[in-house]
Every structure is written in structure tokens, then in C-alpha cells.
Symmetry: D2
Subunit: 337 residues, 4 copies
């Protein structure tokens, strides 16, 4: 941590900062520049609260030097984490494709979709039983009944299941039915929920909040990792910007940046980012070319009858075309589907 | 709801949309323009899923005509809601000032702060027992012990208490100790939590998510109102933008816009928006001049020793100056403190 | 400037950075922390290009320590700049009110508006002759003819004039007619235009770009100041965010932050920020309470017939009410109108 | 255009709107819904100013139905525009690669870079003579001397040249030396400059402003097209968001969205978006996989000595690897380099 003193700081201000640094068990290193003095603090700054110094007289700014995440960082864990699920290795050579409807709506709907996406080449079935909806008047998911339907489909099709838990109290039940517990974008900083999935130890897909930086995503990952659960995947699903043609802006740069910062697999969800099925295929191709380890795609057999997010759902036939195109791109970058 | 057809839409596309409208129990009203046809749908669009139409052939765009919130809207509830707490009327002539530390840290710290803010003119004490922190390595609050301390302070000082609940399981305990349950910005769309505080019926302070629109804030309010809990206040606390001098950007326009859209009281939290105590006083004055019904201000007797958010905390003496200045502005706009 | 080395940086990487620092005529100051080494560079960093170091092996990050602006900074110019125009002192006790239509449309329209805003208490008339419009199909302003009309109105009413120059070639003509040359938000980083108004030496109102940081605004101010033109005012007019109820988001915090960073007067334009006349009065009151030195308000005698921006224009009677309310707030904060 | 009346609008308000519609030469089409009346306006809305209606009593909202751009739209020009330059066809099967330094710094530097990028497979040389820089203290480019150097390099290497014009007065000179005139992101809404390059008729590369929507980009394109200059390419170069790891956020979705909305070629500049050379190669691969027609890449033989933007510049050897990887992706999507 570096403390930048104001131009007009007095010697006693500098002494006070140095005194405080020592009091907290750290060492201080002064550097008197032409315009101002800077004070380097030596020790593990992750345990230092920067406002201690920012509130002192004569201090202009406090700069953190090291990244605030540790368990999620490649600095301390250089090799790629590979999450093994149901015979799949997420984060390895194969691009993993998770596909299915936004929400489980009925036995027929989820079974029809599961068979279709399996046939088209998907490895994992997605489908929400608990649905966070911005309106209380919208369909909120089938809840526990939806989990039962997912368990049935898993039994019959052999597909692994990824589905969302919205509250700590749902985590155990979701964990029994699902192979991967999804933490949705709106819950990325729901710390009680992060604790709960960290404790359970089952694989987790952590979606980036639409308002969250990559660093905050990694800090939320740190919550889960710090409970000893390393079976964790990150998911970029678009961030909120001023652009309105797409629902959110897919932050494709998050793929190479996260792959550099962290050892965790990076999945991309182009469906929620685009908000419109028409752009899902090119975005999927772009994501894989940029280095994504997997895709999360919304597919619905009858998008016009979907109870949620129909606009961004692909029909099974178009999804099959997507898989074929993504396969070509994967091969071009030394991966496979 | 209005369906805008594509320029090249065929007559059978238009017929299909009209057919679907009727099938869903609504009426359709066609308007053939020079370049394209638009179809007006007559009936309560809040129960219509727009993707039903967006996914149909020949459709370019679907536009909602009415606001998606109803209980929160002035259209159906024109008069100001006034929340009565402990002899105070929030939303009436008096500007209500809630002040206190970010977190309850100890009996001494919270009692010292309570006495100081009461002396300076605050009406309600704020202080977090459960703290959402982006880092698992930061102080997470005293939890239930913190609630006990708040209850003690309330007993001794007579100040009403506002404190945060982070999970449905904490709501009952928070409700026993607090006069107002705060829903934090990161939990604005934690629907299980909104259900829980809606059910409990105690007064709620709902903070706007830092990347949520006003409409989304009102939809989250709708969740609480739809459980019959009308003792609800909204709180603007800054939104996330590209500007970095301040921690977030206080959306001052939210004050007049929300006062026009909804009957609920609007509180402003300039401390979290600014992220630096130096700008809290002018922002408080600006908020009151623009029509805010109350302020939520961080005060700490020793900001440099605060376990969280020290940088944005005012010392009690400066807080007393803030109250004096805000009082002048309140009088100038026909209010009082 | 501080160079943060990577955790795995080798001694020769550190030596290379130090060597480069010396080669450029600066001094280096090493500080070996627990996890990594940081190198302080001593000398005037404004003349250092940070990519020199960011591209070297073993370097993780480069942090600037001093603000990049100098002439605009209070560090080197602590006292408030006061811009004297036509008997007015902008930046002093009196809140200066500039009002008028978005665009000059005809002799009748601009004269009628000028008389009305003068009567209501405005000090300066605004009105665009050259209009930047996002559509080539929209009214582009009367151009030089508009300047002539403004000159006539000035002659007849005695009001000072503020009007925009969009290109270097227009600067001389605008400078002849106007008391203040406005640089619009879209041109905040049109450096050729900044040079031109810097050279001319007439008072300048520099509007913040809708997606520019305060630091970038001050850097653009630096362009003008570096040509010796200190008769400069800054104008906050809303920034682009994800919120859509208002056209832009008025960054009210920019008022106290800029007043702290710079000695230049700060004007607020709530009309462009809000995009709707209904919110202009409360935002004006908020801006003055937060410390603004002046307001820039759109007024049109017949908003429904305005050729541009009618929605955000106040009718003269409402503008007169705004001035009365702003006057009360000004008195409450020790200013006057 | 659709006018949505307020819930409480009176019959005379509706009549007044209808009367105004007719007065302006359009036809009105009423649709009385359950909660409110909507009025469809029939005629070419591009010539209608929406504030005419927004300012009338009883009006809640005005919704545009058609896109505001026409010449840039596929609706009126369904086939891809192909820009022929120096034997290249931009917008056809071949992915066009433009590469070179941020700025022309010296004869040696630009010649060395030109030969290196040509050898690696680039088709066009980029290099700025006029440089928009946010600081007046930074290198501003060699100006006309830089144009001469570019002309020499073009003569010797046979590479086509793309370089920026910052002001109308520079357009003729830039047009003499360059094959493509670049309009930089900060000038996307510098309408005087757009007029000037529209008039000249030489090929133009129009960069999206970092604060501009796709619709605004297409409106700026419309300015150039409306002068009869159809030799126009669009360039996505990153937009400003809250994320700070990358300098800007590459809006990869702009590629498929723009390809659908417009017939103009779409080029991607990953160097300015990323702000760091490390992420340029994966972003280039992603852009081509998503459908981009070309790339604009910064290359410098000695990034640590570059006078601007060194951090994001690739060394020639790395650029050659980029071209090889992009070629593989291009083949996988049915294109070629």
C-alpha cells in the first residue's frame, strides 16, 4: 500500500502516518519526490484498511499495490483449475456447452429440450427452478417441483444439470438435484449465499453481476474458495452500459483478462448478454475464439410460448447450427467441442 | 403494448400476431403507417410477456406503454405515503436525519456515536450489525451481538434504529431490534429477502442498487408492497458510472423523478455515493434543496479507527455543522429539520 | 510515478527499470515489499509517458502520483478565479443565471425570450446559432445569421451573450458577437477548437463531455489555460449512464469536487441533464445548494414550437418561478442571485 | 411515431394532439386502451420533432417507431457495401488488416514498421500525423511533416495508408496522402468534420465514440452518406464502462448488430479497447469469429520508446503471430486473410 501525501503536507503529518504504520505492525518506507512525499507500507496489505490512512491529515490518496484476491489468483495458484463433473473436465481442452431453457416450465418442456440439446451436442442441461424476476407479477419458477423435474430428466438423459439457488435455504435441495449450482448475476454479492455454496462443496457456476467489475467477481470467488470449495467456474454474462440495442454488453475482454488473472475456468453466456437470439451464434463463436472454456446457451422448443426470456432463446434447430459453427472455431484455436 | 412490424412483414405475419393477441384474451388495434404496420394491444399489459410477440416472424420491436409498477405508482395512489415511526412522520414536512457509523463495532463506539448524533439533531441512529463486504478478509460486522448493542442504545437514548438485514433468516431478529429494516444496495434484487420483509410488515428502507434503474427500484418496492407492507421508504445512494473521483455518482435527479412517479418517501445517502466525507455536506444540502425527505449520513467518532468506511464518515463536530447547514436549506424550501 | 513490479520479477528486470528511469533524467527509489518491489520515480511525472515502463519485462502496473493538470489546479493557483463580464463577476458571491432558447430561430423568438428572461432575473442570454445535432435531418441552426440576431438583441437589451462555436473557423465570428464562447459537450476534446478559443482570449464556457471524467474536463481546461486564456468557466451538464428516465445523469458531486480541485467557476446546466422541463427547477435548487456558481437554463416562449430541445425548455412564467426559488436557496447558503 | 397519453388526460388534450398532428400534415390514428389512449402518427416521422408532442398537456411519452437513419440502413440498401481501395475489397470475403504505430514519429520508425507489418501480412498501414491527446503536455503528432512521411512510405512499400484528420482544415491535405481518412472516436460527432469528409468523397473510416450508441454511430455515418460519399467503413474501438482492467470495453456485440442494421463494412480496433497488448490477439480472434470485416492493430518496433500508446502496441514478431492465428479463425468462418 502506498500513501501519497498532499503537496502542502507538514512534516508532522508525515510522521503521524509513519507512526500509525508502525503501530499496526507494518514497516514504512519514505520517498520524498519533487512535489510530494510518498510512503510505501511494507507487509501484507490485504489485512490493512485503507481508510485508516485516507482520513489522516495531509493524506491525498492511498493506492493499493497488490490485488485484493489471493486464492483466486494465478500468482499463488499458477495452474489451470479443472472441474470434473460427470465425466467432463471443465477448463481443459474441450469447450463445454451448457444449454436449455431459462426456466423449467413443465415435464414435457424440459424433457423435450433436454433431448434436443443432447442430440445437438450439449454436455450439460441448464434450466431454472427458482427464478429471480424483476417483477412480482412475472412467473417465478416452479421451485422445488422444478428441481424434481430436473432430477427426473437427469436420470433419463444422463445429462448433468446446472440450476440456480437464490437463497441459502435452497442450497441443500439444489445441491441434491444439480451437478452444478448456479449463483445468478443479481446474487454475485449475496454473501450469505456464497458462504452456503462454499460450505456445501458442490461445483459452482458464479455469474458476474451486471454491475460488477472483474475484481469484484474474483473477490466473490474468494468467498467460495475460502470455504475450501475449489470446484468453481466463473461466468461472463454481459455488463450494464449505456448501449440499448443489446440487453447488456458482453464483455468479451473479460475472457482473456480473467484467464490471465485467475486459474478458474471461464464460461460465457451470450444469451443474457444479447437479449436476442439473433446475435447468440456470432457471440458464441467470438467467445470461443477469444479463449472461453465453455458456453451457457438458452434453448427453448417454442420460444413464443416460453414463460420467460423467450426472445433470447434459440430453437433446437438453430442451436444445432450454433454447435456446428462453434466446433469449427474451436478446432481453429486448438480446442474441441 | 405496441407491436411494431418490420418493413418487409407479410400480411400473414400481421394476421398471426393479431391471432395471438386474441388467443391471449386481449384486443388488437391495427394502424398501417407509410413504412410499417403497428399493432396496439388493448388490455392490462402487466400480465403480458413481451417475448411472446418479439419471437414471432415479421416483428421488429415491442414497446410497453404503461409503467410496469402499479402499487408503487402515483397513478393509483396519488397521495404521499407517510411512514410513522417513533413519533416521527417520514415523508411529511420534517426532513428526517438518520446518522451513525457504518458498522456497530463496540458498545462504547455505538453509544458515543448515538449520543453525539442525537445532540447534533439526528432523529434516527444507523449502524450495521450484518455487513456485506466485498472482501472475505474484511470485518463482517458483529452480527446478532451487534443487534443487542443497538437494542441497548435504543433503550438508553430513545433514538429509533435503522439497521440492515442481509438474508431472510435474519429478518425476524433484525425486526425485533430495529424500527426500520434496511435492505442494502447489493440486495435490492434479492427477492427472497424482499418477500421476507414484505411479510414482516415493519418499516423498510430500500436502497437503490448501484446499477439499477429507478424503474427496477420501483419494481423491487412493488415486491414489498404486494405483501401488504406499505411502510416503505426508498433510498438513493449513488449509481455506478465511469467517473472515479467519487466512489459512485449520486443521482440527484432521482429525487424529483421518484417524487413524481411514486408516493413513497425518498431518502438520500450522500456518504456512500461520495465515498469521502469532504463532499457529504454539500451533497446533503443539494439533496434537500432538490426535494429529498430525509438523509442517511455516516458519522464515526474516530474515522481513522473505523473498521469500515472510515473515509466517508464525518466526525460528530462536522456532522453538527452539516445539520445546521441543512436546516437553513430546509427552511428555504419550506421544510424543517 | 510508481512502478509496481510483478511478484515474479527478476533482479535484472528491476535493474532495467531503474536504468531507464535514470536514462530519462529522473531518480529512482526502491522499496522491496513482502510480495513485490515498487519503484518510486522522482521528478515531474507530467513529462513522463507511463507506457515507457508498462511495456518493460516484469512490470505489473504503473501508478501516477500527481494530478496531470497544473494550471487548472488549486495546488498552484489556490484562489478562486473570477471572470468579469459586462459588469458581472462570475465565480464571486452572486449566482449567475444564463437563460434562453436552445437555438436562435428568428428575430421575434430570440427578442421575446431575451426580454422575458431579463425580466425574470437572468443575467446572460444563451442561444445557439451553430447547433450540433445528431441527425443530419434536424434543424442545424441559423449559423452566421443567428450571430447577427444575437448581436442585435445584445444591443437592444444590454444582456451579455453566450453562444457556441463548433469549429475553429467559426471562433472569430462567434467571439465578435458573444461575451462568452461556449464549447459544447461533444467538442470538449476537439483540441483544434480548444486551441482556437485559447488563442482568442475571450471568456469561454467549457461544457463537460457526457462521457468524460472530471479529470479529462480539467485536462481540456488546461489546453485553454496553456494559451494564456484564464477567463474560463466549467459547466457540468449531465453524464451518460444506464438510467433512462432522465436524458443524462446530472453529476451533482462534480460541483464540490471541482470546486476543490480547481479555481475555475463551476456552472450547472440542468436542462440538458434532465431532458425534461419538469425536473429543471429542483435540479437548479440542488445545484446552487451544493455550491454551483451559476446556472444555464433553457427557456422558450413556445416550447411546443421549438425547433430543438422543446421538451426541456421552460416557459418564461415557470422560469420566473425557478429564479424566485433559486434565490431563496442562494440566500440560505450565503449567496445571492 | 406514437404518442402515449397520460392516464388522466382529458378528451380535449387528445383532440389537441390530433389537431397538431393534422396541422403538421400527418394523419392520426387513435387507439383507446383500458388505461390510456395512444395516438399513432402516420407519415415519415424522420421529419417530425418529438418534443412538439412531449410538451403538450396530457402527454406522457412519445415513442419513435422507425429507425432515425435511412441511407445507412439495410432497409433501404439491403446489399453489403464493398469499399475498393488499392486492389482490396473491404467488406468482401477477405478480412482486411490495417496495422502500424499510433503515431508517425520519424522516417525510420514508420518505414521499419511498414516493412514489418507488410511482411507479416497486413494490407494497410495505419499511423497518425495529427494526434488528439487528452493532455496538452503530450506529443501531438508531427502534423503535415507526418503526412509527407506517410506519402513516402506508401510510395516505397505500396501499402495503402489510413490516417486521421482532426479538423475540417486538415481534410484536403490528409486526403491527398491517405487512401482512407480516419475520423477518430473523439470526433465522431464533430459535424463540421463529417461534412468535410463527406464532401471530399475519399474512403472514410469512422470510429465509434467511446460514449456513443450504435444508433448515434449510424447517424454520424448518415451525415457522411448524405453528402454522397458511400465509401465508408465503421469501426468499433471500445466503449467507456465502469470496468477498469481494460482501458475501454470492446463491444463485440456491435459486430453482429451493426452487420444486421447496416450495409457498411465493420472494422474492429482491439488495441484501443484493451489498452494493453496482452489482450489484443484474443480480442482480434474473437472479433473475426463474430463477423468483423477487418482489424485495426497498433504495432510498434520498440513499444517502450513509443511517444504514445506504447502499452497497447504489439512488437512486429507478436503481430506476425496474431496474423497467423487470425488466419485460422478466418478460415473456420469461411473468410480469408
Amino acid at each position: 500500500m502506498i500513501v501519497v501525501m498532499r503537496r502542502e503536507a507538514k512534516p508532522e503529518n508525515i510522521e503521524a502516518v509513519v507512526g500509525r504504520v508502525k503501530e499496526l505492525g507494518f514497516r514504512a518506507h519514505l520517498s520524498a519526490g519533487e512535489e510530494r512525499t510518498i510512503i510505501g507500507i511494507i507487509g501484507d496489505e490485504r489485512h490493512l484498511n485503507e481508510s485508516v490512512f485516507r482520513t489522516m491529515d495531509g493524506v491525498e490518496r492511498v493506492v493499493r499495490v497488490v490485488k485484493p484476491f489471493k486464492l483466486a489468483s494465478r500468482d499463488f495458484h499458477p495452474h489451470d483449475t479443472i472441474v470434473a463433473i460427470n465425466g467432463l473436465s471443465i477448463g481443459a481442452k474441450r469447450i463445454v456447452i451448457m444449454a436449455g431453457p431459462c426456466a423449467v416450465e413443465s415435464r414435457e418442456q424440459i424433457m423435450e429440450t433436454a433431448l434436443a440439446v443432447k442430440e445437438a451436442g450439449a454436455h450439460i442441461l441448464r434450466g431454472g427452478a427458482f427464478k429471480p424476476r424483476s417483477s412480482p407479477y412475472s412467473f417465478q419458477g416452479l421451485g422445488y417441483k422444478g428441481l424434481e423435474l430436473l432430477a427426473e430428466v437427469r436420470e433419463e438423459t444422463g445429462l448433468a444439470i446446472v440450476t440456480e439457488a437464490m437463497a441459502p435455504a435452497q442450497v441443500a435441495a439444489v445441491g441434491e438435484c444439480a451437478d452444478i449450482i448456479q449463483i445468478g448475476a443479481r446474487n454475485m454479492q449475496n454473501y450469505n449465499l456464497l458462504h452456503a455454496v462454499g460450505e456445501l462443496g458442490k461445483p459452482v457456476l458464479l455469474k458476474r453481476g451486471m454491475m460488477c467489475t472483474m475484481e469484484e467477481l474474483l473477490m466473490s470467488a474468494e468467498y467460495i474458495l475460502s470455504h475450501g470449495n475449489y470446484r468453481l467456474m466463473l461466468c461472463e454474462r454481459g455488463i450494464r452500459t449505456f448501449e440499448t440495442y443489446t440487453r447488456n454488453t458482453l464483455d468479451i475482454s473479460a475472457v482473456p483478462v480473467l484467464k490471465q488473472l485467475t486459474h478458474l475456468p471461464v464460461i460465457v453466456d451470450p444469451s443474457h448478454a444479447a437479449g436476442d437470439w439473433q446475435w447468440v451464434t456470432p457471440l458464441s463463436m467470438g467467445a470461443v475464439a477469444a479463449g472461453a472454456d465453455g458456453l451457457l446457451i438458452e434453448v427453448h422448443p417454442h420460444p413464443d410460448k416460453a414463460l420467460s426470456d423467450g426472445t433470447q432463446s434459440l430453437r433446437p434447430a438453430r442451436f444445432a447450427q450454433l454447435v456446428a459453427k462453434v466446433r469449427q472455431v474451436a478446432l481453429a484455436v486448438g480446442r474441441e467441442v
